[in-house]
């Protein structure tokens, strides 16, 4: 590898795409919010749930809620149904804490169906009552480091502490409802992978989806794969990276043609 040659090529590349990089810089947090809610939707689709999207005003525009402000009925929501089981999926949902009157905002809220109002009522809607929140997901644009994991466990403790003590709740996991999940763009750093692997032994029903961008691309090729779980518990995707790279380049070139 000639660092000087590649460096000059990449300088020219960065200069050529400067405008797009500026747009990425201002939008990437919002795009990640979108990626997270779609990841949760695809987890349910992979588990055999039928997916129905409801957009505000009945339009075909998916409106992403990018922060805690704003009424939920002004944004898109997703309904997942499998037989007698149904949940709604919301973005940046305000929810009452499990222990006190505190109000928190979860990046993706998985709720009992119809528990979040679909329109403005007579009184002001503040937040979802805790009992209606089935589970949730948080998303971070970071590598997974031990203190990030500790912070997430703390969030679960405040919002859904039942997932932190035995007995393990039935109906949550791969192919089932999603337990509290930390979605992260980055990889495991230092000993964080070992910490996560110890969660089941400690009866912590928490899922960590690291390398999320890789997972989404990986799950895309097969609708029965959840992007929030690898194929097995090895913690690595069972894919041929060379084949994946070739397919990726071919797909991009095909899209350009």
């Amino acid at each position: 590898m000639n660092v000087d040659v590649v460096s000059k090529l990449l300088e020219r590349f960065a200069r050529r795409h400067r405008t797009t990089f500026s747009q990425i810089s201002s939008r990437q947090s919002m795009q990640l919010e979108l990626g997270a809610v779609i990841g949760v939707q695809e987890h349910y689709r992979a588990g055999g749930f039928d997916i129905q999207i409801t957009n505000p005003h009945g339009s075909s525009q998916f409106v992403v809620k990018t922060n805690a402000k704003g009424a939920p009925w002004n944004y898109s929501r997703i309904c997942a149904v499998r037989g007698m089981h149904a949940v709604d999926i919301h973005m940046n949902l305000t929810v009452r804490g499990a222990h006190d009157d505190g109000i928190y905002c979860v990046d993706v809220g998985i709720t009992s169906p119809g528990s979040v109002p679909g329109g403005k009522g007579k009184s002001k809607w503040l937040c979802l009552e805790n009992k209606h929140l089935r589970s949730f997901a948080e998303v971070k644009r970071l590598v997974v480091y031990p203190m990030l994991l500790a912070q997430f466990v703390g969030i679960v403790h405040e919002i859904k502490p039942r997932f932190l003590r035995p007995p393990t709740r039935n109906g949550f996991g791969r192919g089932e409802h999603l337990p509290p999940t930390l979605i992260v763009l980055g990889h495991y750093s230092s000993n964080s992978g070992g910490i996560v692997r110890s969660y089941p032994k400690r009866n912590l029903q928490i899922n960590v989806a690291e390398n999320f961008d890789v997972r989404v691309a990986w799950a895309r090729s097969e609708a029965t794969r959840s992007p929030l779980y690898w194929d097995d518990d090895s913690g690595t995707p069972r894919i041929d990276s060379k084949k994946a790279a070739d397919a990726l380049i071919a797909e991009l070139e095909g899209a350009e043609a």
Binding site: E11, I24, Q28, L34, T66, V216, A244, A255
Partner: protein, 138 residues
Amino acid sequence: MSLAAIDRIAHELPQRLADDVIGYARSVQAALPDIFLEAGVRRTEELANQLVFIAGVKKLYSISSSNYWILANSFHALREQVTEVRLGSTVISRQSPYFRDLRELHADLLRILADNELFDFMELTSYTEIARRLARER
């Protein structure tokens, strides 16, 4: 030296992305003693420079890849129920200039990486393995 090369590339990026790229390359530079030790590879200046350079490029690749694929896969997952996505004040569809620009950016980067035999390093997550591979290829 290679941190300087990453600096020059990052200089062309918006500040926030530049900070991400340089910060990541610096974190790998700080970890070099452990990486070489774990890899069982003798440290040379050339290898150290290549590792730091690859780290910066990996971060650039990650920015490009994740932003393109999250949108592309969202459109795929939303299927026929949705024609466009609103993110704040921005509306994006498969046909919108922003999505087209993202695709061109990512394809352009992939070609540079493939032409210069760097793509394989983007797929490797372990710097120990990258160090071993670089040492073997010398």
